[in-house]
């Protein structure tokens, strides 16, 4: 039997069969690879959290075990600094939380034990020039100064805005206070060289990455501010111990 390849019936059936076959194949691939992808994403998050506390995996360490050995405890707090029961810190999506009003947010805290004492790591999330930027900030146990920072981005310009993920940028945050001399929350400014503000904590912006740098500054302020009560509690606890 000779099939007419140009007939409408043939064309429609051909398209339908092709789409079903391809759809089925893609579903299979997705199902097969999904577990590995989820693990990668979780490991990547763990790596970022540890990077904020300046802990980097060496070649023979797996992220999973390194994370287990350092992050002993994680919990969520609200804007009053009280622990929220039943929320898993690792599963909270900070990008969604920053969209809510400050007093409705669930704020994750990761308690990290390092060689230099206990650090409290909190996530931050905001917008850069082309897309989302995010990061993790490790606070010293006194809740006043930053111990380390990690920043990530989705698609900032390579060599310009993308430089925020480099230690050359994030390393500047070490030791910066986030509260002013009168105890108010002031965050850390990200400013161009030559425009350093007097009396406030700042780091140098990435040259050529102005909008991304401003995004980092805004992200730090809006994401860290609701933690103020929690950080104040830390401060009180640490001064009680002394």
């Amino acid at each position: 039997m000779k099939i007419n390849k140009e007939s409408n019936v043939y064309t429609v059936v051909y398209a339908a069969v092709l789409v079903v076959v391809v759809g089925f194949a893609l579903a299979l691939v997705y199902q097969a690879l999904r577990p590995a992808q989820l693990e990668n994403i979780a490991n990547d998050t763990k790596k970022q959290i540890l990077a904020a506390a300046l802990i980097y995996p060496t070649a023979d360490q797996t992220i999973g075990s390194l994370y287990e050995s350092h992050i002993k405890e994680s919990f969520c707090v609200d804007s009053k600094g009280d622990v929220v029961e039943g929320a898993k810190a690792f599963d909270v999506n900070m990008a969604n939380e920053v969209k809510k009003p400050a007093d409705e947010r669930v704020l994750p805290v990761f308690v990290c034990s390092t060689d230099k004492g206990v650090k409290y790591i909190v996530p931050v999330s905001g917008a850069g020039l082309w897309g989302p930027i995010w990061g993790y900030i490790a606070m010293n146990a006194d809740g006043k100064t930053i111990f380390g920072a990690y920043f990530g981005h989705q698609g900032e310009t390579p060599g310009l805005g993308a430089e925020i993920e480099r230690p050359a940028f994030s390393g500047q945050f070490e030791g910066k206070p986030i509260f002013g001399s009168n105890g108010d929350f002031e965050s850390v400014l990200v400013v161009k060289k030559g425009q350093e503000p007097a009396g406030r904590a700042y780091v140098n912006a990435v040259s050529g990455g102005t909008i991304t740098s401003q995004g980092v500054q805004k992200m730090l302020f809006t994401s860290l501010e609701p933690y103020t009560a929690f950080f104040k509690k830390l401060e009180k606890e640490s001064s009680n111990k002394e």
Binding site: A15, T157, G159
Partner: protein
Amino acid sequence: MIMGNIRKRLEPLINPLSNDNPVIVQILGICSALAVTAKLQPAVVMTISVLAVLALSNVIISLMRNTIPTSIRIIVQLVVVAALVVVVDQVLKAWNYEVSKQLSVFIGLIITNCIIMGRLEAFALNNTPFDSFLDGVGNALGYGIILVIVAFFRELFGSGTLWGFQVIPQALYDMGYQNNGMMILPPMALITVACIIWFHNRKAK
């Protein structure tokens, strides 16, 4: 005589490398050549991804060539290419998450790479699967060579590194040498490609 035959068989593989290069002779696939060539590593991963997609889609379309209705042939090609690209994207996410993060949307954009549609339409629809395979590999390599050359110069002068390792000695920076920020921006990729075309044309004359 035999040598001549082999040469003839391999023509689809060898021609696109220089004489009929998709990027610098046919001026196809320029957009992705700009996007992924700021660093060497993404350029190489992109080349491998395009190689996989182009070789496989060429073979698949060539196998299907006698059954495809002419009126929807472009759609059929697109479906095959899109499916392969999604597979490549998923595999990268599962096995090399770091690099897939770097390449982000550009893997998805392989679908719109003119080289791929061009080869399917111009070659795979009229040739045997084996020849189509050679043609796919040849064109992907021809594309890759240009990508790697452009990325080499852009990373070297733009970031002072190659494959992420610093190659320009610190001493030079201390003497006042600075990375050329312009090299990282897309326009310099165009200019670098243009220089390659220039040299290539000179040689061909």
